[in-house]
């Protein structure tokens, strides 16, 4: 593609995102452009389409194709106990506080296929906190949400997940929490009995509950600064006084509008605690 075509493609991309927003109400205009362009190029190649305009036609007219496209744009790579150090520090620095609460409400935003939700549930269970915890696990993508609800994963992934679990300070064996069958594993339903899986779009939906802990790891990196600020605002509104905010290890409140509204509990693992509002 030469430069002139590239400039044309810039126009096409803007129009496509606008079209998706107008027709379906999903607004990707403040997502990382480079990320979107990569995903869209992958789709062009896979579906043998010659231009973004051609893709736009299909997205607008073919509902099934649109569903595939939405899947393309959603973030769906995740693992259990990703960044084991984070989970170790969470046990050390957040759990003692949570213990003092009568009830714990957690919002796990952008839960994707659920690997993190089950990780958190296992951790809370081992700390004897799961019974008094309500977890809201949300994502805008209904397909991954269904997968999360089922709690079925491939056996192949368990090697990495078990290693992470051990490094994260797991108290037993990851296999204590699932049953295997035909190359798949099913996580114990006792883990998910206090989890509500719900459709929520961080870009367009508002606050839905007051929570003590917001867990949102490796979602904000896909947003531009404007959208990051907006979403951080949503988290701040949802959090109780002295509630915890956990971001991905490469995400940060630094340079955001909310930097001064939180204490840093762990700088490297990006654990924050909301300060009481001073007026």
């Amino acid at each position: 593609m030469n430069q002139n075509n590239l400039a044309t493609e810039d126009i096409e991309l803007d129009l496509l995102l606008q079209a998706v927003n107008m027709k379906y109400g999903y607004d990707f205009r403040n997502y990382s452009k480079a990320h979107l362009r990569r995903r869209i190029h992958q789709r062009l190649k896979l579906s043998k389409l010659s231009s973004v305009s051609e893709l736009q036609g299909k997205v607008l007219w073919e509902k099934d194709f649109y569903r595939i496209f939405l899947q393309d744009l959603s973030i769906n790579v995740t693992e259990m106990f990703r960044d084991p150090d984070f989970y170790r520090l969470f046990r050390e620095k957040v759990v003692p506080d949570l213990r003092t609460y009568a009830h714990i409400k957690v919002w796990l935003a952008g839960c994707s296929s659920g690997e993190e939700v089950y990780s958190l549930a296992i951790l809370l269970k081992e700390e004897n906190l799961l019974n008094k915890t309500q977890i809201y696990a949300t994502d805008f993508n209904k397909n991954v949400l269904e997968k999360a609800r089922q709690g079925i994963y491939t056996k192949r992934d368990m090697e990495l997940f078990s290693k992470n679990y051990k490094e994260a300070g797991g108290k037993g064996d990851l296999s204590d929490y699932y049953t295997s069958k035909y190359g798949s594993v099913l996580f114990d339903k006792s883990l998910s009995k206090n989890i509500v899986f719900a459709d929520h779009n961080l870009v367009t939906d508002g606050v839905f509950a007051e929570v003590n802990l917001v867990f949102c790891r490796n979602v904000l990196i896909y947003f531009d600064k404007v959208l990051q600020n907006k979403v951080l605002g949503l988290f701040s509104e949802s959090l109780t006084k002295r509630g915890f905010l956990c971001l991905g290890t490469k995400e940060s409140l630094r340079f955001s509008d909310y930097e001064k509204k939180y204490d840093i509990i762990d700088k490297k693992m990006k654990i924050y605690k909301k300060l009481p509002v001073t007026k």
């Binding site: 593609m1 030469n2 430069q3 590239l6 810039d10 990382s32 452009k33 480079a34 990320h35 362009r37 990569r38 973030i75 790579v77 995740t78 490796n218 990196i221 896909y222 531009d224 600064k225 990051q228 991905g248 490469k250 995400e251 940060s252 340079f255």
Partner: protein, 188 residues
């Protein structure tokens, strides 16, 4: 005018990346973004070693920071590094590409889209196929491409694949790459 340099290296890359960066004269300031497959080695140790030998500020990329003069940005372990149109850096935890995260192709491809013909792409030693497709995208978007000579490279598969796929502008021995970077930067 050259506004950014992207560089990728895999097996044997720690030494070659260091040779290229330390080979640049102290008045050379164009920002450099690097994907280095470093395996289980510690990138922090490597970066501080490089810092001791270079006039560039050496750092791990932070998401949404702007590319600045006289700075080398490394992709953090386990994240892809992308360059946005507004000359900021993004990170992603997307699928591995060429079995790698960070992947050279992801950096090269997004840099090509965003920096267009104001870009130099450099692919060094390695024993996989990462970077070849990205280098081709750089070339198609008007950027200048340099590949290390596979005959003298520590591992030749990566440069060889890139040469076959992308027909690069220059194929050079490692020690000649810094001079070519300077020459290309002065050309326009």
């Amino acid at each position: 005018m050259i506004k950014a340099i992207v560089m990728g290296a895999s097996f044997g890359g720690m030494e070659s990346v260091k040779k290229v960066i330390t080979g640049l004269p102290s008045d050379f300031k164009i920002p450099i973004a690097v994907v280095l497959h470093i395996g289980n080695n510690n990138i922090d140790t490597y970066m501080s070693l490089l810092q001791r030998h270079s006039h560039y500020k050496v750092k791990e990329s932070e998401e949404k920071e702007s590319l600045k003069e006289q700075t080398v940005y490394f992709a953090p372990p386990n994240y892809h590094l992308l360059i946005e149109e507004d000359f900021t850096l993004s990170l992603s935890t997307d699928e591995k590409v060429n079995f790698s995260r960070p992947a050279i192709d992801v950096l090269f491809e997004t840099a090509a889209w965003s920096v267009k013909d104001n870009l130099i792409g450099i692919l060094l030693t390695g024993s996989n196929n990462d970077g070849a497709a990205g280098l081709q995208t750089i070339k198609e978007n008007g950027g200048t491409t340099i590949v290390e000579n596979p005959e003298t490279a520590f591992a030749k598969t990566m440069p060889e694949t890139a040469i076959k796929l992308s027909n690069p502008d220059y194929i050079l021995d490692l020690q000649d790459i810094p001079a070519k970077i300077i020459e290309v930067s002065k050309m326009q």
